[in-house]
């Protein structure tokens, strides 16, 4: 990157380090931190939506729907999330290809599962083999997002289900007394009030989500763990201009610090949001704010 970096073998100390840390591969490493942040920012709202749907389904008076909602949360909570990640990445991919295969090649006669192969017609491949490299990466990433959303949606459903039940019953009865129907009660009374009860659970969930992002590595996305493994390994002078020993410990220490910072910042933000949401609520925290303002 810098002009003096043309022959790294002559460099020493700080100037060597400045060149080493600005190689193209390191730029990829820095960019992968953005991948993590992007994943978090996309996954959180999508998972919240899944969770909301799950919680609303579990509350439903229509039995099959409520059973569906409850089974969804129970199964995902009973099984390690890593197992889900490894399952969904293949399963979703095959499910999509299978559906496209059924639509695009209706007169295909051979079986799709041939021994240990999964064969669909070329037009049904996802992404198409002709599509550029970035499409493949984007597809892998969106599969990862969907997987995260499904798993964390179940956790969120559990939290939101609890929060919906925590809203004082009297509030809902009052709404009914004013002649609101079920839908109105749900959207105008229940949903606006449930967030303060959901917040401790959701903030906890966000922390778990942050701490689950390194699992992206297992989904085949080139994330920070991938780069740390790649860059930290032993490098001999034969293959690189910057030979060094096994630096895995240093790289993983950097990741550790990154995550500590991320969780610390999140904690501070959540404290602030909690203070904001407590405002005017019939809870102890809301009451304390009211007293302090007087």
């Amino acid at each position: 990157m810098f002009s003096y970096c043309t022959d790294p073998s002559t460099l020493e100390g700080f100037s060597w380090l400045s060149c080493y840390l600005t190689t193209g591969k390191h730029m990829g490493f820095y960019a992968s931190f953005l991948t993590v942040i992007v994943l978090l920012l996309i996954t959180a709202p999508v998972a919240l939506m899944f969770g909301f749907a799950g919680a609303a389904a579990a509350r439903s008076r229509f039995l099959p729907l409520s059973l569906l909602g409850k089974t969804y949360t129970a199964i995902v909570r009973g099984v390690p999330d890593i197992a889900f990640f490894m399952f969904f990445v293949i399963a979703l991919d095959q499910a999509f290809e299978y559906l496209r295969h059924k639509v695009k090649c209706p007169d295909w006669s051979e079986p799709i599962r041939q021994g240990s192969d999964f064969v669909v017609c070329t037009q049904a491949k996802l992404p198409l083999s002709t599509s550029p490299q970035w499409m493949h990466e984007a597809y892998g990433f969106s599969l990862a997002v969907l997987t995260f959303a499904i798993v964390f949606g179940a956790f969120a459903a559990n939290v939101l289900y609890g929060a919906m039940r925590a809203v004082p019953r009297a509030q809902l009865e009052t709404a009914e007394a004013y002649g609101m129907n079920q839908r109105q009660t749900f959207w105008r009374i229940l949903v606006p009030q449930m967030w303060i009860y959901a917040l401790p659970g959701l903030s906890n969930l966000w922390m778990i989500l942050v701490k689950a992002t390194p699992l992206l590595f297992l989904l085949g996305v080139e994330d920070i763990v991938y780069w740390a493994k790649e860059l930290g390994g032993l490098k001999t002078a034969r293959f690189t201009e910057y030979p060094h020993g096994n630096w895995h410990a240093i790289y993983f220490f950097a990741l550790l610090v990154f995550y500590l910072m991320l969780t610390s910042i999140s904690e501070r933000v959540f404290k602030r949001i909690s203070r904001r949401l407590s405002h005017g609520q019939a809870t102890a925290a809301g009451e304390a704010q009211r007293k302090a303002a007087q």
Partner: protein, 268 residues
């Protein structure tokens, strides 16, 4: 090959006992269930050791965090912050990398680079931090009256801790601690995917499940089997912890309302 034969060959495969070669093709359901179940031995081993040792370490750590002495409190706070604030996955990678470096200068650290010791140590430290935070919260919410009553009766020192503080702390922490135990058992599935090498294909349940999924390219059989095993394990954990929890709460007024028997109502 009959299923019984498969069980004999592979039930203890994860410990290196039995058939050396894993099945290579035409996997039967029996083979998959047996091998994945065999891998569960590792998950149970990791979880059990970490929980048992972590329980006592966490009690000490929670007391240290609750202490007035800053020399005890600050390190405990820092320990809990580091292990709760970073992903277990990264902790595993980092620990493994450190052990590998240490091994080069001190042969003493050689066993730490294998999962049975190294990963167990990381899981132990991790669960200690999470449990200590739970126990610390419980210590903070011990009813004031209990402590005042202890003071009034002249119960002090060690007796005060073992008879009053500790049982109350456990009772209050128990539901959250049950959750932590479940999560810990789930976390054991990470071990062989986070740096620690699998030696001679003696892996845990997830290792064998992913082995089958890779070979057959069909995730719909091995992973549900794995899920079944883990749900079973979770149920066992809930049952054991529930029994202990009931015992911890047995002195409290129970919520069950005793209705007069059928005959007594009739006689009245």
């Amino acid at each position: 090959m009959s299923c019984l034969q498969t069980v004999q060959d592979y039930a203890l495969r994860s410990l290196g006992i039995g058939e050396r070669l894993l099945p290579r093709e035409d996997f039967t359901l029996c083979e998959q269930v047996t091998l994945i179940g065999s891998g569960m031995i590792w998950n149970i081993y990791f979880g059990l050791i970490a929980i048992v040792f972590g329980f006592f370490a966490a009690t000490g750590m929670a007391l240290a965090k609750n202490s007035q002495n800053a020399w005890l409190r600050k390190p405990a706070e820092f320990f809990i912050y580091v292990f709760r604030g970073s992903p277990l996955f990264i902790q595993m990678f980092f620990a493994y990398a450190v052990f590998v470096v240490l091994k080069q200068s001190f042969p003493f650290f050689a066993p730490f680079t294998s999962a049975w010791l190294g990963a167990t140590l990381v899981l132990f430290l991790n669960t200690t931090a999470y449990t200590a935070e739970i126990f610390y919260g419980a210590l903070q919410s011990i009813p004031k009256g209990d402590l005042e009553a202890a003071d009034a009766y002249g119960i002090t020192g060690r007796t005060r801790f073992t008879r009053i503080v500790w049982p109350s702390m456990l009772r209050l922490a128990w539901p959250a601690y049950t959750n932590e135990a479940i999560f810990l058992f789930h976390a054991t599935a990470l071990v062989f995917f986070s740096g620690f090498p699998v030696w001679a294909q003696r892996g845990d349940a997830l290792y064998y499940a992913s082995y089958f999924a890779d070979k057959t390219f069909n995730p719909f059989i091995p992973y549900p089997i794995l899920a079944g095993f883990f749900i079973l394990l979770t149920l066992v954990v809930i049952t054991i912890f529930g029994t202990i929890g009931k015992r911890l709460n047995r002195h409290l007024p129970q919520a069950v309302i005793r209705r007069p028997g059928f005959m007594r109502t009739m006689m009245r």
